[in-house]
């Protein structure tokens, strides 16, 4: 609770997030645990159309990001939760905020559990799962106690450590890739492609974090470009991972691997044999990516909860949420239940993250059109 935070009026949030930080926040939030399973789940649904579905899902996500960015441009002093109350009334706004928070708490929990499962399976088999999860959640929770300025800086700092090694692994794996494995690139028909696209969009939902930082940007008027850029970068990394894994393993093998991206890192060899086990480096990078994503979903949960309960500060919720998230993370009984839950929850929350910002924008535009928002004559949108 900084002195600055206390002195602020309700209409004037902290303005600290730069354009670069907007892009960094989006990219490093979206790139998370999901990257490990993505090549498998897209291939399961769309066959060789997996990479195309990933690109399409990324485009969809860019569309939803644009909605949030346009909202942020029209309402530079309110976050997405406050806007809900302004545009749809207190009751609806608070209810929607609580719904979003509920989903993001669950998403945080599931992501931390997925992280724990990978660690316990592949790296530290004898370390209790509970400890691994708790360590990661504590890190996210303590980071989430900071204000939005720190939030922006942390994402900005970590982004290169996530993107460059990820692209390096892709480049190294490409050596043994076989292009025919990517054909036919549209897969086995529109139905599978559509289902895979929806799933990709569901895995990229962390873009919603933009709704909680848009009102803190220094230049809300040019929010659209960095926002789209950040989401596109994440989409590119996901698509590159999906395509490389498919080209490397082939459609038959990629669906047999629980975490194809991790296997890809294991198969990668550095010319000259400088690093024998590349997967260790990959996991280090990936832990960072998981952390930044958890940090964001945690931040969204805490901010939304504060708004729904009528408090201006999100910080106390960071630690208060911890036991809840922790218990939810420990809930799934086995790895198959975990993945079933992850995909169901992620797809169920799609209307919230994709349609709710759309509804807000429509309402905002309607109000402007009718002149009931008290700022007639402002340019569209």
């Amino acid at each position: 609770m900084t002195p600055a935070g206390r002195a602020e009026g309700p209409a004037r949030p902290l303005k600290v997030i730069t354009d670069v930080q907007v892009a960094a926040i989006l990219a490093s939030s979206i790139i998370g645990v999901g990257i490990l399973t993505l090549p498998r789940v897209t291939t399961e649904r769309a066959d060789t159309g997996g990479p195309l579905a990933t690109a399409l899902g990324s485009l969809l996500t860019m569309g939803a990001t644009a909605l949030l960015a346009l909202l942020g441009r029209r309402h530079p002093d309110e976050n997405v939760f406050q806007l809900g109350e302004t545009l749809f009334g207190r009751a609806v706004g608070k209810a929607m905020a609580l719904l979003v928070v509920a989903f993001f708490i669950e998403l945080t929990a599931l992501a931390s559990r997925e992280f724990g499962e990978v660690v316990v399976t592949d790296v530290l088999p004898r370390t209790p799962l509970e400890v691994t999860i708790l360590a990661m959640l504590l890190l996210a929770a303590s980071a989430a106690r900071n204000d939005v300025a720190v939030f922006g800086r942390i994402h900005e700092f970590y982004l290169p450590f996530i993107v460059f090694p990820a692209l390096a692994i892709v480049a190294l794996a490409l050596k043994t890739a076989r292009l025919i494995n990517l054909e036919p690139f549209w897969g086995q028909g529109a139905a599978g492609l559509a289902r895979a696209t929806v799933l990709v969009a569901a895995l990229l939902q962390t873009f919603f974090v933009l709704g909680t930082v848009a009102n803190h940007t220094l230049h809300p008027e040019r929010l659209l470009r960095p926002a789209l850029l950040g989401t596109a970068l994440a989409g590119f990394v996901y698509t590159a991972a999906a395509a490389t894994a498919l080209a490397l393993f082939g459609r038959g093998e990629v669906v047999g691997l629980l975490w194809p991206t991790l296997e890809m890192a294991k198969a990668a060899t550095v010319p000259g044999g400088i690093i024998e086990r590349f997967d260790a480096l990959f996991l280090t990078v990936w832990v960072t990516a998981v952390f930044t994503s958890l940090y964001s979903t945690y931040f969204v949960s805490a901010t939304g909860l504060a708004q729904a309960l009528g408090l201006r500060e999100h910080k106390p919720f960071a630690l208060l949420l911890l036991p809840v998230v922790y218990l939810l993370a420990l809930l799934p009984g086995d790895i198959q239940t975990l993945y079933q839950t992850i995909f169901r929850v992620a797809e169920a929350s799609l209307p919230l993250t994709f349609l709710w910002p759309g509804a807000l924008l429509v309402r905002s535009l309607l109000a402007a059109y009718r002149g009931t928002d008290g700022r007639r004559g402002e340019r569209w949108p």
Binding site: M1, T48, T121, D122, V123, L124, P125, R126, T127, P128, V131, L134, A135, L138, S142, R145, T176, I180, N181, L182, E183, P184, L248, F249, G250, R251, G252, E253, G256, E263, K266, A267, T269, G273, I274, E276, R277, L311, E313, P316, L319, L320, L322
Partner: protein, 400 residues
């Protein structure tokens, strides 16, 4: 927020931070490298009891095995040839499954079995002919096993390959894996590691192949490639026919030597070594029948000439080019026909049809109740044309 609540939250945070400091140091998984039994090679053979598997492991003795890439070049450093018996220890166990056999193996060891440095997985021909499928799952599921492990089929029992004692290499398992690594680097072998085997085994339009090796006593040699349709060994492509396979499936290098009769001079021979090659496959379907056009491009150097034929004018080289093209086309054609008789598409032509002729592929799968069975039946009737484009670029240090 009230002061009391904030204090409480802070106290909780402090307690958690302290607890995490104690808990998150990774103590559970501490395992000294000396306390691991690093399995360098595993051999699988049929067990004495029916249905059982005999697992022979070559285990590095801690402190005596130079692990990692530094071990390259067959031992390195002074005093490398102090005898291989001392660097590794070979033992075996029998079990109903691979996992069961590993349990038996563990019972004979003081340290915990660790597969992180596994380099070679050898399967005796007797077991390979029965099928590898039941023995792969354990290795697939283990997070320690890398995909770059070499899976080989040994002509004799895999157990004897584990006892291999090459006189000029320090670690037998590394000798075997380097033999294959270098064969790949020289362009004598396609990349057919354990991971590649798994990838191919999961494909409908390609048959997996693995190196076929003879290893006993002090000697090991690469005999060719074992062909495993449905993961059961069916046939062997001898080493001198592997270049024809490499010409088609590509790869960055080729060490192929093409021997041709000297144009217009009966009884005289020219030996040409490939320095670069590339291939392009064009699948097509006409009247429901698959046809494959294979274009191969090679650059070769003259390495030997037996006879008096002169080579000091461009047109003489061009005439030899044509003869070499005919030779290459013939070699590729005969290998394709051979694999057709085995119903084993080791080239992956089927994958080309799957990718580029999806309608044909779909039909094939429908008719045969699965694409894999469909292609197995259709492959022998695949028609093909081979067009080779060979250029002799240099003639070594001789002018004629």
């Amino acid at each position: 927020m009230s002061l009391a609540l904030r204090r409480a939250a802070r106290a909780v945070a402090a307690a958690l931070a302290l607890a995490s400091a104690a808990l998150v140091t990774g103590c559970w998984d501490r395992l000294e490298i000396e306390d691991r039994a690093a399995v360098l090679a595993v051999g699988l053979d049929p067990g004495a009891r029916p249905g059982y598997v005999r697992l022979t492991a070559q285990i590095g003795i801690p402190g005596r095995v130079p692990l990692g890439p530094a071990a390259g070049g067959g031992g390195g450093g002074g005093g490398a040839t102090t005898g291989t018996r001392q660097t590794v220890f070979v033992t075996s166990a029998e079990g109903a499954t691979v996992a069961d056999a590993f349990e038996g193996l563990q019972a004979q060891l003081n340290d915990q079995i660790w597969l992180g440095q596994l380099h070679v997985l050898a399967v005796g021909e007797a077991l390979a002919r029965r099928g590898l499928a039941p023995y792969m799952d354990y290795f697939r599921r283990s997070p320690e096993v890398r995909r770059t492990v070499w899976l080989i089929v040994t002509r004799d029992a895999a157990a004897s390959a584990m006892e291999l004692a090459p006189s000029f290499a320090r670690v037998p398992a590394l000798f075997l894996s380097e033999m294959m690594d270098h064969a790949v680097a020289m362009g004598r072998l396609p990349v057919v590691t354990l991971g590649a085997f798994w990838n191919t085994a999961a494909m409908d339009g390609q048959t997996p192949i693995v190196p076929y090796v003879r290893a006993e006593g002090e000697h090991a040699s690469l005999l060719g490639l074992a062909v495993l349709p449905g993961q059961c060994m069916r046939a062997v492509v001898p080493m001198d026919e592997v270049p024809a396979l490499l010409d088609v499936i590509g790869g960055s290098r080729s060490a192929e030597v093409v021997t041709i009769p000297a144009p217009g001079r009966p009884g005289e021979r020219l030996d040409l070594r490939a320095v670069d090659h590339s291939a392009r496959l064009v699948p097509s379907v006409a009247g429901g029948r698959p046809h494959m056009e294979i274009f191969v491009r090679m650059e070769v150097n003259l390495v030997q000439k037996v006879g008096t034929h002169l080579f000091d004018r461009p047109d003489q080289l061009l005439a030899a080019d044509r003869a070499a093209e005919a030779a290459v086309e013939g070699e590729i054609g005969s290998l394709i026909r051979k694999t057709q008789s085995w119903q084993a598409d080791i080239f992956g032509f089927g994958e080309e049809f799957r990718g580029k002729e999806p309608a044909y592929w779909h039909e094939l799968a429908q008719a045969a109740g699965g694409a894999q069975a469909g292609w197995r039946d259709a492959y022998p009737s695949l028609s093909f044309t081979v067009r080779a484009d060979v250029h002799i670029r240099r003639t070594g240090t001789e002018d004629r």
